[in-house]
């Protein structure tokens, strides 16, 4: 049975490892994109005008309230149509295909960003306002207050929450398999279909996901300990 997992043409080992790397790539890109959306969303919610605040509010409510699968389907089936509709306005009527990786990263990043928005907002609000007043009182510029007071502490407060978001993002990438991108879940599906041995391949896939999630837990624990060095514990 284990020769099914062999490396090379005879087995599925290399396909699964390549799938795992693809999963990792999608997850990292989505998470990074999510941080951009999250930072923008949190800024809009805390400092934005009524329009920006409204958009951010709708974004987090809708994306967090609708199934991830639906968001992915909507972007996967809808992005091509939308781009073609725009292209048609400019007189370009050929079929345009957006690659699955881009759409995958975009949709999971959108989901990741909605959760990050709330985490980052909470972390910014956790920085005591007196410290910002103190910064102003000693004559720090806005940028100095941001880089020396707000940012370092926000990062520290946000870290545990972002750890959770990362785990969610990592697991959400499995849903990209519906778009036929060859990430871990999809590789397992293909292997299961060809060999008619779904139990083996889904178990291996589960184990590989488990490796990724547990390594992440260790990494985030380390990062938390590092960011809390020099902080007194009650």
């Amino acid at each position: 049975m284990l020769d099914l997992l062999a490396w090379g043409d005879t087995g599925w080992g290399d396909e699964l490892v390549r799938g795992t790397l693809m999963t990792l790539a999608v997850a990292l890109c989505s998470f990074a994109l999510g941080q951009v959306f999250g930072a923008l969303g949190a800024t809009a919610k805390l400092n934005g005008g009524i329009v920006a605040r409204g958009i951010a509010e709708v974004y987090t409510t809708v994306v967090r309230g609708v199934p991830e699968l639906l968001v992915i389907y909507l972007l996967f089936f809808g992005t091509g149509n939308a781009i073609m509709a725009v292209a048609a306005v400019f007189g370009y009527t050929d079929y345009i295909e957006v690659n699955a990786f881009t759409i995958g990263v975009l949709s999971v990043g959108l989901i990741s960003g909605a959760y990050s928005t709330e985490v980052i907002r909470g972390a910014i609000q956790a920085v005591p306002f007196g410290q910002i007043e103190a910064g102003r009182a000693v004559g720090m510029r806005r940028s100095q207050i941001f880089f020396r007071i707000l940012l370092p502490q926000t990062l520290r407060y946000a870290l545990p929450g972002l750890g959770n978001v990362w785990q969610l993002t990592l697991k959400d990438t499995a849903l990209i398999s519906v778009t036929a991108l060859a990430e871990l879940m999809r590789s397992a599906q293909v292997a299961a279909g060809v060999t008619r041995d779904p139990f083996l391949f889904y178990t291996v896939a589960a184990a590989l996901y488990l490796v990724l999630t547990s390594l992440s837990t260790v990494a985030f624990d380390r990062a938390e300990r590092y960011s809390n060095r020099g902080v007194r514990r009650a």
């Binding site: 609708v66 199934p67 389907y73 139990f199 178990t203």
Partner: protein, 229 residues
């Protein structure tokens, strides 16, 4: 955007709501029972029981639900032993496979919430109750359970919402709940945006109502936080 397509998709999609609610409701019900058992094992002094429960929670929280669903639906059916057993009546049905996967998944998360809730009960209160002559059962019913529920309810509310969203994955094993029906309508009409927006709105509405219900439940279990009228 074609409004008439949207409008005509509404009744068809609403027909999927009962299936979605059944999946969520049954999974939460079975999941809670299982989670109570797992939390009890996790808190027990017996190392073996505690390790088994810990491994279960670790595995089900660390892997994507989609893998769990496929493993149960496609994976288990591959064995002749499973197909010959009495469980086959359940495992051959996508409906019950979906509920089984959702149940196992939610129980892993819920057991941690129950454990957190129980561990948040101040030890002194339990000692006090024991000192007053409460039996173990009475201590649980009058002291531990109310405080644990109060502590765990907000987190459990999130879990309920997550389950509603997770139930959409049942569409991948041919179940026609809201997402499954949405996909079917799209394959006939190609109205991607219209149908998914209506489906999304239905999910949002369900989740909004659930949030309200949980808020009300939280209000009910925290009479000490209310201002006297």
């Amino acid at each position: 955007m074609n409004l008439s397509v949207m409008w005509s998709a509404v009744p068809t999609l609403l027909a999927g709501v009962p299936v979605t609610l059944q999946l969520v409701g049954l999974a939460l019900l079975f999941g809670f029972v299982l989670a109570s058992g797992v939390a009890w094992m996790r808190l027990s002094a017996n190392r073996v029981l505690s390790a088994i429960a810990g491994t279960y929670v670790f595995v089900f929280r660390g892997t994507p639900l989609l893998v769990q669903i496929f493993l149960i639906y496609y994976g288990l059916g591959q064995f002749q032993a499973v197909r010959a057993s009495i469980f086959w009546e359940i495992l051959r049905e996508p409906y019950w496979c979906g509920i089984l996967a959702l149940t196992l998944n939610t129980a892993a998360y819920t057991s941690e919430m129950i454990r957190g809730g129980i561990q948040s009960v101040p030890h002194g209160q339990i000692e006090a109750a024991r000192a007053c002559g409460f039996s173990r059962f009475l201590v649980f019913r009058r002291v531990v359970a109310p405080i644990a529920v109060r502590q765990a309810l907000p987190a459990y509310g999130n879990e309920v919402i997550l389950m509603v969203k997770a139930s959409s994955l049942a569409s991948t094993i041919t179940l026609l709940e809201i997402t499954g029906i949405a996909r079917r309508i799209i394959s006939q009409t190609f109205a991607v945006f219209e149908v998914f927006i209506v489906a999304g709105a239905i999910y949002l509405l369900i989740n909004f109502l659930i949030t309200r219900l949980i808020r009300y439940a939280e209000w009910r279990v925290t009479p000490h936080l209310r201002r006297p009228a």
